[in-house]
Amino acid sequence: MHITVKTFAQTRELSGEDNISLDLEPDATIDTVIKHLTARGSHWELALSGSILSARNHQLCDKQTVLNDGDEVAFFPPVTGG
């Protein structure tokens, strides 16, 4: 299956990429995406370390969330609006 990954704020700056397409095995989860991305290099390991949040199709989700073909996944630091 095919998904899109977006990054924001520090996660975007540290990874150096803000919009990526990934081909994944069926039943892949957010955790699977993290494994794929951290395999790209230490900059991605750093970008996804610590208390990073994840979203699937514009809703916050946990790392065990199962993905579907066409999903948009996003990684970003804890939010600081207000």
Partner: protein
């Protein structure tokens, strides 16, 4: 049933008076005479952080998710505090010291629910709406870190019902 909620993400400044009157007209359309209290909050850009003076902030957001997350929060506030209307506006982009950043408003039959709802909206906004602040001074800039006190404020609402 009439629509009694609004949530806006925008670059441009907002008018407190206009938003207040929009909230009141939504509340009247929802339940004429049923509103006894309106509480609003406006957040401004401070001219300092823990290290000293700053020139302003840059707000990044997640287009497509930010407006949905803000609307969800407003709807949760209406349901939780039995509001007659609620609204929230958050600005994005580059904002200079003393500019308005955020506005929330809650209308309710009684004042305590309106006060509580305004606090809930601000505390939870700082937890669930994908916005990130970067403070700048001259050419230098740094991301704002989350505060433990903000996490604690949101957890209080999540733990109680």
């Amino acid at each position: 049933m009439s629509v009694n909620v609004f949530a806006l993400i925008q670059n441009e400044d907002f008018s407190h008076a206009q938003l207040h009157s929009q909230l009141q007209s939504y509340a009247n359309a929802y339940s004429l005479g049923g509103t006894g209290a309106i509480v609003t909050f406006t957040g401004l850009v401070r001219d300092f952080n823990s290290q000293g003076d700053i020139d302003g902030i840059e707000l990044e957001h997640y287009p497509g998710m930010t407006d949905k997350a803000l609307m969800l929060l407003v709807e949760q506030a209406v349901a939780r505090f039995s509001l007659t209307a609620a609204g929230a506006v958050h600005r994005i982009g580059r904002l200079y010291n003393n500019e308005q950043i955020v506005w929330v408003g809650a209308a309710a039959p009684h004042r305590q629910a309106a006060f509580d709802a305004a606090c809930f909206l601000m505390d939870m906004l700082k937890q669930s709406v994908p916005l990130w602040k970067k403070e700048f001074k001259g050419e230098r800039s740094q991301w704002v870190e989350t505060k433990a006190s903000d996490d604690k404020a949101a957890l209080k609402w999540m733990a109680s019902k």
